[in-house]
Subunit: 469 residues, 2 copies
């Protein structure tokens, strides 16, 4: 029996496309999470209805407040809990009465908390949710975000400034999610969904993976894992989903000391790190070992097509960066392409022998010769001996013309091969141009020549995963 | 006999503090390097005199043009050459006649060029320079920059937007220098000098190292090397200089193919990479293996004091980043500090047991309790069991208060231990605050928790170098 036949897939779509959201514990006080959730929903420009629930207030941010869920008579698709933990179970009863099927429980104080109370409360929550057939994200989460639906049901309004894109981020940590989101913004990475799973009382990584596999807005799934409750199920889910979409994993909890740490953090045991890593590798996950590597991987996988093979061409506007990129190719054991005879000849005719031209190719000597430049670019990209292209441009004011030429070239000749660039400019200069270039769905830009080369390893790795069976 | 006794140190200071500069080949045409050199000097706001030399023009950028060096009757301290290579030798004669002792020769077409002409021209240049006792930087260089003297004698005006600081960058590649400069700007790294050595006809890495050792504006020397002409001399220089100031090295040219490449680039043989790496390591260089690592190293070494030992404390506003930092400590084989009894007790009194608190310390639960927070920070920084502190804050709008508290705390308690931070915020938010924090000369901020931890390795490495004898 195949995995897909045994797994009962949850209908998580309604979490991300609700029409009406109740915020239980909405507040007008800045020091309350209920304030930040309201702000997130409104700043995020959510197009549906937001119903604040609070027994002590009449109005929050211009919206009418209801004293309880039951006082609101319309249909509610999603309940967001930001109330004290001892009130969560009673409000879940009200959710059941109102026929609400989905709840994001931001409230902390469940199994991650000290003592038996929290554990017991979480057990009761799980049982109730099961009998009520309510899907819960959380408890103890920052919330969920769907950038394709202007939905920011989290206590972090700043998630709404993330770029919309094709990467789903599923995380076990609020802090890491902020980090990924804001660093991703600087790296020009766009998200589809951002989900904090928290204690995973009945919605786990596996459920989210299966949902995202079918989500048309998601091309790449990135998961940040501290502890795993049901490793076998997760490994099977990754195996199943990664045939369809890349699953990039960053797993922390390497040392035993941290195992204790992450146990208290989201109430699960981080477990024996190496065993998980081995199992994830087997399952077809794209493993990464630092948060920047994680972002580098989701970026290239969401922006570039798969290469046919592994032969790399390096083109550069300057010699130095070409050499450092070629070194990285060597260091990673990758292969520089040998250009086909015709391409080699053309390059030798265009570029003087004093330059690096066999691959890497230093375009410096013809940098201001539009025709020669475009010809070499086209020849190299179209050469059947080349599978991937690394293109490097270091800023100089005179290079803007070259960059614009590149953009218009790629607009006309949409490449079917991955083009990894490292186009480095002073702050705020060229941001627009790089955005434009990256929107072409073949190109991913990185902050250094070496990282542009290294990003290829994630494409190569996913190619292996796809080819496994 | 010690190295310092055998080496004749050049007087390179006049390159960086000239009063009058002649630009030979100054131009008013955008497609000429002579235009960009003029622009660099003027945009850089150089306080001395700039004398453009060009036989065909009367005025450039509002300045009177002289038809030749000899037509200008004042003293000239530095000649910058941006003329065709076949005219360089004649103008050097004029320099001699004018008593000019220092020349930056941007002009290419010497030993890096095809055929015998270039090689021969370079030989003649070397001989003439020797008999005239003229020090030359170049030929085939982008130029030199002294940010402490508003001097931008290069063809890249954008170098002038670099932050002024204590890192000297000496490079063999224009492309890599742009890259370092612009990425450094984003990383908030400040430079003292930026020097392109080009073909090094009579000023080599060693000369520059010896000069920078004495330069009061320079605390850290970063060198980017492709090929080396006199490796033994360089290794001895690094050995001598690194007792005083850290010398960070990024050497490219790993593969034989690239050896050819970098031979043509700046006319020297990149040589057997591993042998150089081994020799540099022996000499006390701080070796780095990617351009980002190079910048991470110069940053921490220029901004942080040396730690007494290697025991690391991790403080974090959120648990996830703390775990990923602790993983990196584990991965690098570093040691987490065990807090002294008193500190441990205080932390246990302040932070509830559900949180990570033994080290790493998750300050999340007391994040809004100013007193508890400051107390823990002070205790941990002052704990004699702690040598280095890694402090992590992921942005949330509510955290601005915490960041400002941190700044005012550090202003009052200037730490004598290195504080590595990873404070991540959306673009353009908190830039000012991070600047302020980094200006305190104890703190260096990195774009990820893992890189903040990894940066410590460069401090540890330099500590070993200092302790060698």
């Amino acid at each position: 029996m195949e995995f897909k036949d045994v797994v009962k897939q949850k209908h998580l779509k309604d979490f991300f496309y609700p029409e009406t959201i109740a915020v239980i514990g909405a507040s007008d006080r800045f020091d309350k999470l209920g304030y930040h959730v309201m702000k997130s929903l409104l700043i995020g420009d959510f197009k549906g209805k937001v119903i604040p629930i609070n027994p002590r207030l009449k109005e929050i941010m211009g919206l009418k407040v209801y004293s309880s869920l039951l006082k609101y008579h319309g249909k509610i698709d999603l309940a967001v809990f930001v109330i004290p933990s001892d009130k969560v179970l009673d409000v879940l009863d009200e959710c059941y009465q109102k026929g609400i099927k989905n709840a994001v429980i931001i409230t902390a104080g469940f199994k991650e908390a000290e003592g038996l109370d929290g554990k017991k409360r979480e057990e009761l929550l799980r049982e109730k949710a099961k009998s009520y057939e309510i899907s819960i994200i959380g408890p103890n989460t920052f919330g969920i975000v769907n950038l394709h639906n202007n939905l920011n049901a989290s206590f972090t309004p700043e998630f709404s400034i993330c770029k919309r894109g094709k990467v789903a981020l599923v995380s076990q940590s609020g802090g890491m999610s902020y980090f990924f989101a804001f660093l991703a913004q600087r790296m020009n990475i766009g998200f589809s969904k951002i989900v904090g799973l928290g204690n995973r009382v009945n919605t786990d990584f596996s459920d989210m993976l299966l949902y995202l596999k079918e989500d048309p807005e998601t091309d790449v799934i990135g998961i940040y894992i501290e502890g795993v409750d049901n490793p076998r199920h997760l490994v099977n889910s990754i195996k199943y989903v990664s045939k369809e979409k890349p699953v990039v994993v960053y797993k922390t909890g390497l040392s035993s000391k941290k195992d204790e740490a992450s146990k208290s953090h989201t109430g699960s045991i981080a477990g024996r790190y190496e065993i998980y890593i081995g199992a994830f590798k087997q399952s077809g996950a794209i493993l990464t070992y630092s948060s920047e590597e994680f972002l580098d991987a989701v970026k290239v996988l969401s922006q570039c097509p798969m290469p046919k093979g592994k032969k790399i061409a390096i083109l550069s506007g300057q010699a130095g960066p070409a050499i450092s990129a070629a070194d990285e190719v060597e260091r990673l054991g990758f292969t520089l392409a040998s250009f086909s005879e015709e391409v080699r000849r053309e390059i030798e005719n265009s570029i003087p022998p004093m330059a690096i031209r066999s691959n890497p190719v230093d375009l410096g000597p013809v940098w201001h010769d539009e025709e020669a430049n475009s010809k070499i670019l086209k020849l190299v990209i179209e050469d059947q001996e080349v599978d991937c292209v690394v293109f490097l441009i270091m800023y100089a004011s005179a290079n803007l013309k070259a960059l614009k030429r590149l953009i218009s070239y790629f607009k006309k000749h949409r490449p079917s091969k991955p083009i990894l660039t490292s186009i480095i400019s002073p702050e705020r200069i060229w941001d627009k141009e790089i955005d434009e270039l990256e929107s072409l769905k073949a190109i991913a830009n990185y902050p250094s020549p070496e990282r542009a080369v290294r990003a290829l390893s994630f494409l190569f790795r996913y190619k292996e995963v796809k080819n496994r069976d």
